[in-house]
C-alpha cells in the first residue's frame, strides 16, 4: 500500500514551517518532496531599501541560531567595499563570538538529535550545558541570541580582563562535558542503533547535489571555507577540518562533536593571543561602487553573500545563500528508502534552519482521496463557517 504523509508545515519534529511530503510504502519512504516558502520574508528586497548600517541588524535577523554568521559575512563584504580594515583586536573578538556561536549551535544540535531520537534526557543535559555558552555570549555582547557585536569597521564592545579569564575557566567545563557526551553518544545502545546506517549520502551524490557543511564533511568531503578560502584571522589560527567517512547520521554527529573540540582550541587560542588596541575604526556612510563575494563558514555550512554597491548608502543587490538551502536536495536523497521513524533524524541531521534558507495548508479529502491545497484565506473561511454552524456550547466552564 502506497500513501503519502505530510510532515509539516506544522509538525512537532519541525520547529519551523516547511512541508515535506513523503510517499511511503508501509514504514519505508519511497519518495520525498520538499515544499518551501512558508517563512519567506523578502529580506533580499528589504535590504535594498535599508542603509549599510541598518542592514547589519537585518542580516542578523535572517536566523536566530547563526545570527552572527550572516552579520559577519555581510560586514566583512561591506568592509571590503568600503576599503576599511578593522583592527586586529576587533577581528579576534568577532571570530571569538563566531566560534562561541558554533559551539552553542552544535550543542543545540546534539540536543535536538537526542530529542528527535526520543532521548529526552540527553536533550536536557546538552541544553543545560549549552547555557554556559549562552551566558558567555550574553556577557560579551549583551544579548543571548542576537549578539549585534558586529559593526562596520570592527566590533561594538570590548572584552575586559575579568570576562576573558572567566570564559577561559568555563571552557574547561565545556570540554569535559563534551567528552562525556561523546562517550554517552557512542555507548548508549538505543541511541546508536537509531543513528548508525541511517540517512546514507554517498560522496558522489553529495558532490552532485552540492552539499555543504557537516553534511558534506560526514560524507568524507573535506570542505571548510575557513581553510579553503581563509577569511579574517583563520589563516593564522590552528585548526583542522573534521571529517567522517560513514556517510550517515552517526557520521554527522561525530563531525560535529569533533568540530566542538576544534572550536574549544580556537577559542582558547584567540583568548590567549588577544591583541591589544582599538576595537573599531570609523566607517564611511557610503560604499564605493563595486561588487564583492563574501564567504563564511557558518555552523551549518558555507554562507555566501553577494553584495553589489552602486555608490549610494544602500546596497544595490544583496544576495544571501544560507547553508540549509544548499542541503535540501541532498536531504531528499537521504530520505529515500529510509523509515518513517527516521524522517525527523535525517532531516534534523542537516541542522535545518528554515528561516535561514528562506526568506498554504494541504488537506486530503479522505472520502474522495482527492488532495487539495488550502490557502490561508480559504482556511480562515472554513474555520469561520464551522464556528458559525457549531457555536460553542456554554461559556466554557467545566463541567456544567
Amino acid at each position: 500500500m502506497k500513501f503519502s504523509i505530510p510532515i509539516g508545515p506544522q509538525h512537532p519534529a519541525l520547529k519551523e514551517p516547511i512541508s515535506l511530503r513523503m510517499t511511503v510504502e508501509g514504514e519505508v519512504i519511497r519518495d520525498a518532496d520538499i515544499r518551501l516558502g512558508y517563512n519567506h520574508r523578502g529580506i533580499e528586497k528589504l535590504a535594498e531599501e535599508k542603509t549599510w548600517i541598518q542592514n547589519i541588524y537585518l542580516m542578523e535577523r535572517i536566523c536566530g541560531i547563526c545570527s552572527h554568521s550572516h552579520a559577519t559575512c555581510y560586514v566583512q563584504g561591506v568592509e571590503k567595499l568600503m576599503d576599511i580594515v578593522p583592527p586586529k583586536r576587533a577581528l579576534y573578538l568577532r571570530f571569538l563570538v563566531a566560534e562561541l556561536e558554533r559551539v552553542h549551535s552544535h550543542l543545540l544540535w546534539l540536543g535536538v538529535a537526542g530529542h528527535e531520537a526520543g532521548f529526552d534526557t540527553f536533550f536536557m543535559y546538552t541544553w543545560r550545558d549549552r547555557e554556559i555558552v549562552m551566558d558567555m555570549l550574553e556577557a560579551i555582547s549583551g544579548n543571548r541570541v542576537h549578539y549585534a557585536i558586529n559593526t562596520l569597521g570592527g566590533v561594538r564592545r570590548d572584552l575586559d580582563e575579568g570576562l576573558r579569564q572567566k570564559i577561559l575557566g568555563q571552557l574547561d567545563i565545556l570540554r569535559r562535558r563534551t567528552e562525556y557526551y561523546l562517550k554517552i553518544g557512542a555507548n548508549e545502545p538505543t541511541f546508536v542503533a537509531r543513528l548508525a546506517g541511517v540517512g546514507k549520502l554517498s560522496k558522489e551524490k553529495a558532490m552532485d547535489l552540492c552539499a555543504v557543511g557537516p553534511t558534506a564533511r560526514a560524507s568524507d568531503i573535506a570542505r571548510d571555507v575557513r581553510r579553503d578560502d581563509p577569511y579574517g584571522i583563520y589563516a593564522e589560527t590552528p585548526f583542522e577540518v573534521s571529517t567522517a567517512d560513514t556517510c550517515d547520521v552517526l557520521g554527522r554527529v561525530v563531525v560535529r562533536v569533533k568540530e566542538l573540540f576544534q572550536c574549544y582550541n580556537l577559542i582558547e587560542f584567540m583568548l590567549k593571543n588577544l591583541p591589544a588596541g582599538e576595537v573599531k575604526v570609523k566607517a564611511p556612510r557610503r560604499a564605493k561602487p563595486g561588487e564583492v563575494v563574501s564567504r563564511y563558514e557558518a555552523p551549518r555550512g558555507g554562507n555566501i553573500h553577494y553584495i553589489v554597491s552602486g555608490g549610494a548608502d544602500k546596497p544595490e543587490r544583496l544576495k544571501v545563500r544560507a547553508p540549509t538551502l544548499a542541503n535540501y536536495p541532498a536531504t531528499v536523497e537521504m530520505l529515500k528508502n529510509g523509515f518513517i521513524a527516521d524522517i525527523p533524524l535525517i532531516f534534523a541531521a542537516i541542522d535545518p534552519c528554515i528561516c535561514c534558507a528562506e526568506r498554504t495548508v494541504e488537506t486530503v479529502d479522505l472520502r474522495t482521496g482527492e488532495e487539495k491545497v488550502l490557502r490561508f484565506s480559504e482556511l480562515r473561511a472554513l474555520a469561520k463557517e464551522r464556528f458559525d454552524k457549531n457555536p460553542r456550547k456554554g461559556t466554557g466552564l467545566w463541567p456544567f
Binding site: K50, T51, I53, Q54, N55, I56, Y57, L58, E60, R61, T121, F122, Y125, R128, E131, D135, E138, A139, G142, N143, H146, A148, T151, R156, R157, Y180, K183, I184, A186, N187, E188, P189, V192, E278, K280, K282
Partner: protein
C-alpha cells in the same frame, strides 16, 4: 557499547539541585551590559536625528512640536524595537541609553510606546572614535 551508559550520571543528579530556576518567582541576574529597552535622557538630546536615521526597525520618531521654542517630541515604539542598541552607538551625546528590563510584554501595543517632550539641549558633542 554498554547498557544504560547514562545511569550513574542520572542517579547522581536525582538528589542534586535542579539546574533550572523557578522562573516567575525567582529570577536570574542579567549581566551588567545587558541590552534592554532604549530610553532617552531629554536633558542631553540635541535632536541630531542620528538615532532616527540609523534605527533598523524605524522605531524612533522625532517630531517638532513647536518650532519657535525648539520643542521636540521623541517617541520610541518599543513594539517595533529590536533592541540592537544602534541608537546608543549613534548618539553623539549619550542621550540614548539602554535599561535592563527584559520583561516587557503588554496586552496592548500602544502601552509599549514611550514619548518624551523636551526642549532641545545644548551639549558638547563627544568626539567620535
Amino acid at each position: 557499547m554498554k547498557l544504560a551508559a547514562f545511569l550513574p550520571e542520572l542517579l547522581r543528579h536525582l538528589f542534586k539541585k535542579p539546574a533550572t530556576v523557578d522562573y516567575p518567582f525567582q529570577k536570574l541576574e542579567v549581566p551588567k551590559d545587558f541590552r534592554g529597552s532604549p530610553y532617552l535622557r531629554p536633558e542631553l538630546c540635541i535632536v541630531c536625528r542620528a538615532c532616527e536615521r540609523d534605527c533598523p526597525a524605524e522605531a524612533i520618531d522625532i517630531t517638532s512640536v513647536n518650532e519657535a521654542e525648539k520643542k521636540f517630541k521623541l517617541a520610541i515604539h518599543n513594539d517595533r524595537c529590536i533592541h540592537c542598541a544602534q541608537c546608543v552607538d549613534s548618539c553623539p551625546t549619550d542621550a540614548m541609553q539602554m535599561d535592563q528590563r527584559f520583561e516587557i510584554a503588554a496586552f496592548d501595543r500602544h502601552d509599549l510606546k514611550m514619548g518624551w517632550e523636551f526642549v532641545r539641549a545644548v551639549v558638547k558633542v563627544k568626539p567620535q572614535a
